[in-house]
Symmetry: C2
């Protein structure tokens, strides 16, 4: 089985035009594609596309949002659901609070603050002091809580809407710092991701490489504010009781220590010894089309205002034969070289973040 | 493995909108789709489409070709490569000439005649007398040998060409009778199949149902004209020497005898006991979009002139992630309930006819 799956990886990368392991890169367009070309060359085959900043030059957000004060002025009285973690890793694996050597799936503490406070906390994020803030509510927030500035960007992506035959299901605003990252996961949406300030760094794997992510079951846990004084929050992780299980990728592509690196490389050889993930940096003004079901890990660099600001448009995906094939692939156990039980590979990734 | 594959069959039929085994039918459009809708709703998901005769009402062929004499007049001096078999089964399995109980892959005897002779032989086809003729050359023949009447149909299918971003790689003319059928196979093309006279009856299976076709290796054989007198041809099957192997489907959905039916049902349970193939009759004037890699078996009924006449447009398919998934699926052995060796299921089907 492992040989057949490896051949699938190689053939799908080849057909996606990603055959050179050293130079595998997302294809780039200087101008937005026509709806037909987008559908034919990207959506249908499930092939990512990076569109240059020419596509968003007309957005008022392009010049306004990277400034120091525009957003804090425009959203002065807006309430924000801010996601707080000690280390910038929300919706990611963390050491279990009671069981040594076991990991759990840790979600952020969601803290309601006004927008200026949120920006202050995001800018002041520091894993050293145990507090990293990320405004990453994914509930169509740009058209909801942030409606006052929604007019600064296009309400949808015209060529994508025409190609896909629908308007976005959700439009989200993301404001973070270099301290935040998003662990490997996939979404059941076709995603157009636009960076407005700073840069986003994506690590991508096609859906065919599911087994390389070692999706396993983890107990859910949440950061809670243990003590909360004026201007200070101390977070503590609590595993949910009764237990709730979340299937999640075991792979951390950037382990925080040499020991953790060694453990990752030996436990997850299909990831660390397989074909290189596709790196894609999305710069301010650029748009990334990320096809549904692609695995992605995201880290970021701030823009001139100390913030990484992005908008994404989620379009309902088409559940078609590709989806049926993916589920079939996922249902198959693969013998890897590690001693891990292979039936633990059959889980799925929830779509809790992006 | 068999359980996972059966779940793939069920899920892919469900996602293709073919979930009702009794009523599974190709979706039908009264007018041609827009290029975007065709690409999004049919090409990308690999979903067949039947377009009503409104789409070809403007073709001169619609009224001219079903008449008795138009084509024989227009093509009086045209040479035709006519495919002759004793039973109407070209490119199909037949009993091996020397090995009892073994089958071989039999190709037609190709006979050069003028067009009026071809039509006479097609009309006079009779398995009882051991001669069935079918004009089914698949070498872009409408734009080649039949160029004198190519202007009677559209040179391409505008909405398909725009959607697929290319013109047809081949346009073929097919002239046959009720005696000819085409065995299960698939093509590496997106196919637009237009019936001009009579009806074509398709049995369809999605690519995900590969294992149900029991593709196995067969020695190639050819019908040769043993003796050829004025107006009479006697065909004899000869197995190729040195041996040449053709992987082909073992399944005959319409076995010619009760004994053969019993043998088929017991040998190929995944076909005969699995979900029903999708039946689709294409009537004069109608167009069937058959996505690449779909398995199809074709039989036919003649029109008022005693002939079944069709034109098909082959467009180069996109080799994308669906194709990689198909090859992966094909590489997997499946344990069926019969005693047949499962490794014989891993072959491919050549694309020698339609």
């Amino acid at each position: 089985m492992e040989r057949a799956v490896r051949e699938l990886w190689a053939e799908s990368r080849d057909l996606l035009g990603l055959h050179s392991p050293e130079a595998a890169a997302v294809s780039r367009a200087e101008t937005p594609p026509t709806p037909l070309a987008f559908l034919r060359d990207h959506v249908s085959p499930g092939r990512p596309l990076l569109v240059s900043s020419a596509a968003t030059r007309h957005w008022p957000a392009a010049s306004l949002w990277p400034t120091d004060s525009y957003l804090t002025d425009a959203l002065r009285s807006t309430a924000v659901s801010l996601h707080l973690t000690p280390d910038g890793r929300a919706d990611a694996l963390a050491p279990h609070t009671r069981l040594p050597g076991v990991k759990c799936f840790a979600s952020a503490h969601v803290h309601q603050v006004d927008f200026p406070t949120a920006v202050r906390l995001i800018r002041g994020s520091d894993p050293g002091s145990g507090l990293v803030a990320y405004a990453q509510q994914q509930d169509d927030c740009l058209r909801g809580g942030y409606a006052a500035v929604a007019g600064d960007v296009d309400p949808h992506v015209p060529w994508a809407s025409k190609a896909l035959g629908c308007l976005p299901e959700a439009v989200n605003l993301w404001i973070g710092s270099a301290c935040s990252q998003t662990s490997f996961h996939k979404d059941h949406y076709d995603n157009i991701y636009v960076v407005v300030s700073g840069e986003k760094h994506f690590l991508l794997l096609p859906p065919t490489e599911h087994h390389r992510l070692y999706v396993r079951d983890y107990p859910a846990a949440n950061y809670v504010a243990e003590q909360e004084r004026e201007g200070e929050l101390r977070l503590k992780l609590e595993v949910e009781d009764p237990e709730r299980i979340v299937p999640w990728s075991s792979v951390d592509p950037y382990p925080p220590s040499p020991e953790e690196t060694a453990a990752q490389v030996s436990s997850f050889p299909l990831y660390f010894e397989g074909p290189r993930p596709i790196h894609c940096t999305v710069r301010a003004g650029e748009m990334l089309y990320l096809p549904s079901m692609w695995f992605h890990h995201v880290s970021q660099s701030p823009g001139p205002n100390g913030l990484t600001i992005a908008v994404n448009y989620w379009y309902d995906m088409q559940f078609d034969i590709k989806y049926a094939y993916f589920n079939f692939l996922r249902s198959l156990a693969i013998d890897d070289n590690s001693s891990k039980k292979t039936d633990a590979l059959e889980g799925d990734l929830e779509e809790t973040n992006n």
